[in-house]
């Protein structure tokens, strides 16, 4: 056995007896060795962004000579928005209460979208006519301007939790359906032959071949949907006045008085960060779930 590479762990070398280098030995090294490389570019971009913000705020400040319509400076957002950290009525703490409501709404909506979306995709995958019947309406759910149908939704679903949920699901379900369907339909033809040869039932085929194979695509759909779900939750807060209110409501209220504008910014930043965190968490879960077998999953740092 002529294993020449030194990088092959002895375990591998001992057992790989057909003379090929297992793919495993191509370890992903280098590139991210220097952590600075990963952080410096986005940090510089952040400084540029802050610079523009300061410049613009300054401009508005000069022109108006008073702070009524002005954009608060970043340090004001931190001082007046975030820093009253644990005050009952000001700063971060009340905002976090609203964010919690948004979190519950978003997660519920996303969960419903995943369950319902996967079920719809499965039905569409089972029958071509079902696919043709459902697909146009899935597209409509995605393309209809959500604000345009909010009054209609109010008539049907009221103004509380239910209607918020519907708004979120309307936005989030489309990427789940399309990506899952794509995943289900991309099962390898030879794998299907293999299942046919072993007389697998339609159900077995779905459970053991199509669904597991669709997980990466499904998770991509969920990742896209998570952004939409946050948007849906915030939009609903802007429109519906009843029921438990989320961070969108907080932002809307804090916009009204100039003195409270730093808090509005704080709310905006919180909502954005929430979206980013959702995105990252779902990415992490996906990576954990499929890193053993799927090429898209890399050991990221």
């Amino acid at each position: 056995m002529a294993m020449t590479t030194q990088h092959v762990p002895s375990f591998e070398a001992a057992l790989t007896d057909d003379g090929e280098d297992p793919v495993r030995t191509i370890e992903r090294t280098g590139k991210s060795r220097n952590p600075l490389r990963n952080f410096v570019p986005p940090f510089l971009m952040f400084l540029v962004f802050l610079g523009i913000w300061y410049a613009y705020s300054g401009l508005r400040y000069d022109i108006a000579a008073q702070r009524i319509n002005a954009l608060p400076f970043p340090h004001e957002v931190i001082r007046d928005g975030f820093l009253p950290l644990w005050d009952e009525n000001n700063g971060l703490r009340p905002a976090l209460g609203y964010l919690w409501v948004t979190l519950i709404g978003t997660l519920t909506g996303l969960g419903v979208s995943i369950v319902l979306g996967v079920m719809i995709a499965v039905v569409m995958n089972l029958s071509k006519s079902a696919e043709r019947a459902i697909f146009p309406y899935a597209v409509v759910a995605q393309t209809v301007p959500i604000l345009a149908i909010l009054p209609l939704l109010t008539q049907v679903f009221g103004e509380k939790f239910m209607v918020r949920l519907v708004v979120i699901v309307l936005i989030a379900i489309f990427p789940v359906i399309t990506n899952t369907l794509f995943g289900l339909q991309s099962a390898d033809r030879l794998h299907h032959d293999l299942f046919t040869l072993n007389k697998a039932s339609r159900w077995t085929r779905l459970w053991k071949l199509e669904l597991p194979g669709a997980v990466p695509a499904l998770m991509t759909g969920v990742r896209i949907a998570s952004g939409g779900a946050v948007i849906g939750a915030v939009v609903a807060d802007f429109f519906f006045t009843r029921g438990e209110k989320g961070i969108g409501f907080f932002i809307r209220v804090k916009q009204q008085r100039a003195s409270e504008r730093p808090e509005m910014f704080m709310g905006t930043i919180l909502a954005s960060m929430f979206g980013v965190v959702m995105f990252l968490v779902i990415g992490y879960i996906t990576n954990r779930a499929i890193r053993n077998w799927h090429d898209s999953a890399r050991d990221r740092t």
Binding site: D18, E20, L197, K208, N292
Partner: protein, 257 residues
């Protein structure tokens, strides 16, 4: 020829054919005439290889034998209750470990868990993959993937084993190594083997009988009993008789176009 015809008799003839082609023809709905009047039998302990130019309908032959594609005329009788099928590609499920992939066919046939696990363990031993059970296909070399695929079929102890150019994508060293292993498996299991390849030396090395197929529509234009015994040592490939037989098949194939 160096080989004594007395010892040349292949290990065939032990029992009724498990795979029977009688005047089988195949015309695809688009009019492609893939197979024309193909007849041959494969008995237990026989290993028949079909060589032919690419696109000659060899794979179609195998798909008909397995029942994946219905043929258009003639009779094809196969004991499909216990069929092994090895594809051109290892067709492993990437989300399953080697162990779980090897269990797959048995699992689809409803074999109880404990039994299929034990059988998979045996099959993994048989293809020399012990120690790799917990790996995922992504971590395996091409040869190791193919052995996993072989093991997956072995678990069901197939009476008929169909091979669709399984080693075509592997490098020559790996291919010869797996040929040696396949000979060993064949001696161990005594299935009826039908093997498709475009490598003449692989065909001669593995088989008890080689059929040569013409370009489309595929017809059998050559039929050779391979005069070597059941033992096929690695260096049989350098035997003049081996080269001579390869040469004759090669000549047939020259006319096949």
């Amino acid at each position: 020829m160096m080989t004594d015809p007395g010892t040349a008799a292949p290990t065939s003839g032990s029992g009724a054919p498990r795979l029977k082609f009688q005047n089988v023809s195949m015309v695809f709905p688009d009019g492609t005439h893939a197979l024309d009047d193909v007849s041959f039998n494969v008995a237990p302990g026989e290993f028949v290889t079909v060589v032919g130019p690419s696109g000659c309908g060899k794979s179609t032959l195998l798909r008909i034998a397995s029942g994946l594609t219905p043929h258009t005329s003639g009779v094809c009788e196969v004991d499909r209750g216990s069929i092994g099928y090895v594809f051109q590609d290892a067709t492993l499920l990437p989300w399953r470990t080697v162990q779980r992939n090897v269990e797959l066919n048995a699992e689809l046939h409803g074999m109880p868990k404990a039994e299929r696990q034990a059988k998979a363990t045996d099959a993994i031993k048989l293809v020399n993959l012990v120690g790799h059970e917990k790996k995922f296909p992504k971590q395996l070399s091409g040869g190791m993937k193919m052995r996993t695929s072989l093991a997956r079929s072995l678990v069901l102890n197939p009476k008929v084993f169909l091979f669709d150019e399984p080693f075509g994508a592997l490098d020559e060293i790996t291919r010869e190594f797996l040929n040696d292993e396949l000979i060993r498996l064949f001696q161990h299991e005594q299935f009826a083997g039908l093997f498709i390849t475009h490598s003449i030396s692989e065909a001669v090395f593995l088989s008890t009988r080689v059929l040569v197929m013409s370009a489309r529509p595929g017809r059998i234009i050559g039929d050779y009993q391979v005069p070597f015994g059941a033992d096929r040592p690695h260096d049989l490939r350098f035997d003049p008789a081996f080269a001579e037989l390869c040469g004759r098949i090669s000549n047939d194939l020259k006319d096949a176009h």
